[in-house]
Symmetry: C2
Subunit: 331 residues, 2 copies
């Protein structure tokens, strides 16, 4: 049994346990998602993404400190990047830096297993973020490594997406980032004391301008909402900011920019649009799972395996197999 | 209309058009998947994954040349890595190298959009690979960037997974690879003329040994099949091979190893196990899509939007919303 009162009182152990249930998709995890849902919708979700080696995690630590000390805001960190020191796969120096954040009840750190999550990582993350939101955290920072569809899906959870770059990353890595730049609300060049910072900034600005002329080619179902977001987001010009996280330099400017972006979202109505898009996706995902679960209960396991065997033997295509099964069994 | 005869005759334009239909999930794309399915199951699917900058694409070019020239095998390349020169986001030098491969009818190159694919990239890739398989290619190389769940999912498509590393990549990148190493059948250290190659090899071997003691924590449905694969794969010790793709050095050894691995899979029965695992996943995915599509047709759009609005207003949780809708409407 999960003690909801303890979670509401900010008990970190109770919260951790609840998140594990949610991540594992257990009965009580699913119930908690239902029960906590009405309290969600307040937190500012900030995605932080970028290639490995750009110093995302150090930046997240610095931002957290400013949110706590200058704004008295509570912060939850959700680390998905498998190379993040928050997830434990750590370089010693980073671990030590993280330790500053421990012990403060207004800071909560959660690392996500990068696979094995039931129904996919993006969905497990959505559940964890929803609980943290309902638990009352003001800011939830979601750290991902910036490569691939998964990261884009997760970034789409966020109200504000920060893409972190640093000078001297290879050309290959630059190319990877091109995809993720389109979803950036704020660009941060970390390690800005390194040589080549001007080149990095020039490249980012060039890509940004390019990104603004590219229409994203999303899947059909969400096209309307997304293009609405895309057209409205043009009123926000993503700032390019320089930081040196190890020297705590440029951090307050990034925090100000995050808060500016929140204000922009609220005033433009985009806050609600993004919230609704997220919820629609979640409803559709859960619908899928529930339908399959119910339907599977109507089909005898032997019958299902029998049809699968015909597929294995290439006598029946997967598509035909399904139509066969659905003809014989229905919800 | 897609001309199946032209595709069967190896007409690359007809094949390209067909793959676009499959990727977009159109009616004729889905029909083609059904029609071509019975001819599939022959090709050797080889996944090539690794961090950006390890020279995966050059390696793929070199391997392709050996398959063609020494073994007279036809090769299809499916590039998913957004930084791959095959996908067009190219560095000039690589582009030039790729050009060698063009013009040979026994080589086909397909790049996948890294997002927007209906039903997810892994599934779109599965469809594309199935058509290429049925079209008669002997080897299908699937190139992905090695970070994240998506890449692991795609690698799981393959019979043989090659993880590419190179000396002098940062610690961060090392950490990312830890996850993907567990699925490696062959390890290649490319750019082996660079300093630090001994360290890279030592680190890889250490990780490999570690990986063999770690039980993977997969989602429940497939646990049995996967653990069967995992226990059987222990009979294959992944070789660690050095290459310098730019000098064409070490390439024939990698090709031999790929062919050895195929023989191992066939003799151990793992070839069939992996094939069946892939087909089971595909059946389950299509089942999901079909059930949702059918159910959605029974629900009036206004009713669905009405319930969604209650979710947006935090009056109804997504879980409760679904149960409400499913109580009122059924298949």
């Amino acid at each position: 049994m999960i003690d909801y009162d303890l979670v509401a009182q900010g008990n970190q152990l109770a919260l951790s346990r609840l998140l594990t249930e949610v991540e594992n998709g257990t009965q009580s995890g699913r119930k908690a998602l239902d029960d906590f849902f009405i309290k969600s919708g307040r937190a500012h979700l900030v995605g932080i993404t970028g290639a490995p080696g750009t110093g995302k995690s150090s930046l997240v630590s610095c931002l957290t400190r400013v949110f706590r000390q200058q704004y008295s805001m509570s912060v939850a960190i959700v680390a998905i990047d498998p190379s993040s020191p928050f997830t434990g796969g750590a370089i010693l120096g980073d671990r030590v830096r993280m330790r500053d954040l421990a012990g403060d009840p207004g800071i909560f750190i959660r690392s996500m297993a990068s696979r094995g999550a039931l129904g996919g990582l993006a969905n497990a993350t959505a559940g964890v973020v929803q609980i943290l939101d309902a638990a009352g955290f003001d800011v939830i920072m979601i750290e991902t490594v910036g490569a691939g569809q998964n990261e884009v899906d997760i970034a789409r959870l966020a109200h504000t997406t920060i893409v972190v770059d640093s000078p001297g990353m290879g050309d290959d890595i630059q190319a990877i980032k091109a995809g993720i730049l389109e979803i950036a609300d704020i660009l941060v060049i970390n390690k800005a004391d390194r040589p080549g910072v001007e080149n990095t900034e020039r490249a980012l600005r060039a890509n940004l301008d390019l990104g603004h002329t590219v229409m994203m080619n999303h899947n059909a179902g969400h096209a309307t909402v997304i293009s609405e977001i895309e057209s409205q987001r043009k009123d926000w010009i993503p700032p390019v900011l320089r930081t040196i996280a190890t020297q705590n330099s440029g951090i307050t400017e990034v925090v100000s920019s995050i808060l500016d972006h929140r204000r922009f979202l609220e005033e433009s109505g985009l806050w609600a649009v993004r919230d609704q898009e997220r919820l629609r996706t979640e409803v559709e995902h859960q619908l899928r799972e529930e339908l399959v679960e119910r339907w599977r209960k109507t089909v005898p396991a032997e019958k299902y395996e029998e049809v699968l065997k015909k597929v294995y033997a290439r006598k029946l295509s997967p598509g035909t197999a399904i139509l066969t099964l659905m003809g014989d069994y229905s919800l």
